[in-house]
Subunit: 631 residues, 2 copies
């Protein structure tokens, strides 16, 4: 029974809760107890008798021998196997042991169990945590197996531990940061998308920043031991505030909870001792608590619930979607109002008419915002609405007629680059910004349009700046890698950044200011940036850079999506993502140095980017070979 029905794709994945069980050769009873009685959605159960060792099997009787699996495949319907059982690979296996017999037994058993899980059509198997810090042979064997899998997912069990670094704790010496173990394993397996993490959540948790890294990794399950629960006043299990917050993060990142261990809260002694105890599952109160946490999460804000397919071309969406973004046009209206008041003092409001041009008027939202600003400030306005899309111009004409703006608004059906304006403008209003600010040719368009701006005229926006920050983004990286070509790794994507870990605060990249009448001005840019990970974060893998913009519309009126200053409740822009062809591992003590170029050719504009430290990457998108905007 799922934990709840709260919305969003991630939460619909995370609403299933499993339970870790011991080996049983009676799987139907196992399911009956844990699922029907216990209320869990699935069991995480060993598939093979834990005492089995291939090397202990007698003689050459292999041909006639039946492997000691948990019953026949026929004891459950295929759909039951698939939806109710996650296979738990024998936890004794150790492929990096010095003992060659154990190593060989481990390899044989692992392959037999995975083959059995595939035969049963299971959705996933849990791989035991690598023993020690070396895992190359384990990874080699899993990597061989991954090549043959189509549907089965493998979850590598990783304890959620990271020492403080300055700790002298002897036990932490051989595993300082379990993320490193995961990172080695998945690099050796070349980021295979069928390999994910199952995190063992302990009673003590590493620092907040260190936990944050996992939100960009492919974590599929969080296994919470009953030992990690506290006891509330009524004797029931509950979790610490930090554990609660972690679980909320997991729920929002499609991570499923699995309850593990023996019951340590003896609730039957409490008030409800009258009920029929034989019917109650010993871990039911833990499940109930997890369900309570799931249900008490705040509803997602509206813009988070919008379903956006990854890597869609958002520019192709209709004007209508964007016109609905009222927050954006309120900011434009505020900016125009301030500019009008600055251009025309109150005492001249009735005599002076301000000439305002909207370049790229679309179906008219900026025209409307400008006219409302004029009304609000009681200024006289003359508007030229320049639009090159003839279809939008039709709507614009109807709008002007409907609203009775014929005396104020002149519609120019023309490409702004080729228009000869009859007079010069006081204010030039445009909405040409992309997710990365200058990525949709706003600089080039406004350079062209400022021909018909007075030398003391105002451009709205008056400036804009792009920002980037390094992120862990396993899922995005794998989506890009699936294309198996260079071009997709050298393309920037406008995406909703779920399952992303932001590794350092964003920094500004390129700034453009308008108008710019300098003859030496050009729109090429180069910026070198240096990011430092927080010292308690541990190492992390950078899959690329999340990009944003912030724009000064006019004076103190801004508009943007840079996370720390983002305009609230605006949904016109998603972030942009610049991938790296090969992810770069960074440490808090070795800064990440990254270079971004905005390059301009005779017929196109493009970005190039590269990392020079800690290890140089190749240059991305040389000469705009993979990704560009045509002039």
């Amino acid at each position: 029974m799922p934990l709840g029905e709260r919305g969003g794709w991630e939460r619909s994945e995370s609403r299933y809760c499993g339970v870790e069980t011991d080996f049983s050769d009676d799987v139907p009873s196992l399911l009956s107890f844990h699922i029907s009685t216990g209320g869990f959605d699935y069991v995480l159960a060993p598939l093979m008798n834990p005492s089995y060792r291939p090397s202990l099997v007698e003689g050459n009787g292999l041909d006639t021998q039946v492997l000691p699996f948990s019953g026949s495949d026929l004891v459950l319907a295929p759909s039951q196997w698939s939806s109710h059982v996650v296979g738990k690979i024998s936890s004794w296996i150790d492929l990096d042991s010095e003992d060659e017999v154990l190593r060989m037994d481990s390899e044989t058993t692992l392959k037999q169990e995975v083959a059995w899980a595939t035969h049963l059509s299971l959705q996933a198997c849990l791989l035991p945590t690598p023993k020690g810090t070396s895992c190359a042979n384990y990874a080699r064997c899993v990597n061989q197996i991954l090549q043959g899998l189509t549907n089965l997912q493998l979850w590598l069990r990783i304890p959620l531990v990271k020492s403080d670094g300055d700790s002298m704790d002897a036990t932490s010496e051989d595993l300082n940061d379990s993320w490193e173990l995961w990172n080695s394993f998945r690099l050796l397996c070349e980021h295979d998308s069928k390999l994910s993490v199952a995190l063992d959540v302990m009673s003590t948790l590493p620092s907040e920043t260190s936990l944050g890294r996992w939100m960009g990794e492919s974590v599929r399950a969080a296994i919470i031991s009953t030992d990690s629960f506290l006891t509330n006043a009524r004797g029931y299990p509950c979790l610490s505030k930090r554990h609660q917050k972690l679980l909320a993060g997991f729920f929002d990142h499609a991570v499923q909870v699995v309850v593990s261990g023996k019951p340590v809260h003896n609730i039957t002694k409490a008030s409800d001792s009258n009920t029929d105890d034989t019917q109650r599952h010993p871990l039911r109160s833990y499940l109930d608590y997890v369900a309570y946490l799931f249900q008490k999460m705040e509803a997602l804000p509206e813009q988070e619930r919008i379903e956006v397919p990854l890597m869609d071309n958002l520019e192709a969406q209709t004007y209508e979607t964007f016109e609905r973004d009222s927050v954006k046009y309120i900011q434009y209206q505020r900016a125009v109002a301030k500019a009008l008041v600055d251009r025309v003092p109150d005492e001249k409001a009735s005599e002076l008419t301000t000439v305002l041009m909207v370049v790229g008027a679309g179906r008219g939202p900026l025209v409307r915002a400008s006219l409302q600003a004029a009304e609000e400030t009681d200024r006289k306005l003359k508007v030229y609405a320049v639009e090159k899309n003839p279809n939008a111009v039709v709507t614009l004409h109807n709008l002007v007629k409907l609203e009775g703006w014929e005396d104020i608004v002149t519609i120019i059906s023309c490409d702004m680059r080729f228009w000869s304006a009859p007079e010069k403008a006081d204010i030039l209003v445009s909405e040409l910004l992309g997710s990365f600010g200058d990525n949709e040719l706003s600089p080039e368009c406004l350079d062209g349009a400022q021909r018909f701006l007075k030398t003391d005229g105002i451009s709205i926006p008056s400036s804009y700046t792009s920002f980037i920050q390094p992120v862990t983004a396993s899922k995005l990286y794998n989506d890009i890698k699936a294309h198996k070509d260079l071009a997709h790794f050298e393309t920037a994507y406008v995406v909703k950044l779920h399952s992303v870990a932001k590794l350092a605060p964003s920094q500004s990249v390129f700034t453009f200011t308008h108008p710019n009448f300098s003859t030496k001005a050009n729109n090429q840019r180069y910026k070198k940036l240096r990011f430092n990970l927080p010292s308690d974060a541990g190492s992390a893998l950078v899959h690329g850079f999340a990009g944003y913009f912030d724009s000064v519309l006019y004076k103190d009126v801004h508009l943007g999506i840079e996370p720390t200053t983002a305009t609230p409740n605006m949904f016109s822009w998603f972030p942009i993502f610049f991938p790296l062809r090969k992810p770069v591992e960074v440490h808090p003590d070795s800064p990440l140095e990254v270079h971004f170029w905005r390059c301009c050719g005779s017929s196109k504009v493009w970005y190039e980017w590269s990392v020079s430290s800690p290890t140089p990457s190749p240059m991305h998108n040389t000469n705009g070979r993979s990704y560009w905007v045509g002039l």
Copy 2:
């Protein structure tokens, strides 16, 4: 006039000597002076007036302006430009300057000069040394240029410096190890094969091990300043022993010498003052000395002069080539002789007959060696010569008839795996080893053949071990990369390892011992190796691993190609090279950890390999997908 005519491909490349000159707008005179009078083969000359700066060009007259190049393309014939001039890009350019005007001027000038060099069909241009330690923008611009080049090579000028590490010298702080600069630059340019190094040789040289790294890099020129020369007793320039050794290394690695600077040895004052000084080029004595060094090099040993195309399938060569390798068969003869004496004491020499089987007899060289051993030790021998190739069997029959061996040698035309031997052998002789020992199924073949060996019988070879060592091998890497597919990066190549820098002593990988009658035996192997670079080496890039074998034929008689113990003057085996998909940078203080697996399936045998430290690589050749030997 080339330095000399000594053999080998590398030396035929390195016999040309250039001279670095100042800018001149009279190129014909420049050539006449340096080439006709001076005796140099080419000039390294600036193409553009060094006072030119694009930003200083007045007004908008660009359309009519002629760039201040060194004369018209018509002043020389195209073949003269191409063979006598290497273009020297303006040394003032600084693409990573904080000064944006200088940066823009630099980019414009670099692109103009390279375009001009391309127009002139020059073979190469020298790029000035990056200023400071940052070079990302320079690399971005060069990388853009490289995409458009077809024939022109770019040589990046790099000073040959590396501090000791513990030096407190202030001047060495900003450039501790110039290899790092080169490494960053070429990684940013993604190992483009048209980008090479021109090393500036100084009067002081870094350590031997640090110099060794460069022999695996793509070094095309060594620019030696006249300041670096010492003065001999007669007042003539000469070089220190260490410089001489370095130059000899360069000559053997296809590196051309360029003499640079003003003459600092005033030879005209010396004895030959009577000659016509106006005819003598001021740098002629430096050239003469370089030519002297070139000519005094020892002739290459015969096996070094064999021309082997890279990545050829050596197995396809004829039996004849290998039969000529007399050193190899002398070792076999010695081993058989020792085995015969051990099997049969002197007093029984006339009564006991030793049964010897040659498995894979080919055209008979091991049969001959065995018979010679019997003759030498005065032992009685009965030989079975098993060979599956029916064509070789024809030759074998003729050999036996010709030599009159009919009573001693029985020819078995059969695959050794399917032969039913009429009796068991005392000695089993085979030559199934590959460059990596077990890479041509010797273990599997001998496992099959030992069926007809007596339980106390002897296998020759009795054991063999493979070895690897990490190498820098830019040229091999680029040859592999040129195929643009994964399979070539997951294949091992039998190659002549020229232009390779060996970064650490080799270590043993897999050992096989024969006979091996244990029932638990199998031919799968796993080895983890850890290599440490010498502490004074500096960082280096590992492109892959050179592989070798050593074999114990019998007791103290061995045969092998592992460099420190290699059998002299044997040419049957070249090393094997295991590439890495992405080269790994290693430092003396972070060991390189590498894993090799020998995997056996039902129909094939293959290797997998990976690096786990300092940064994990993906697994190579998973499931033998790219490279295997069929059973």
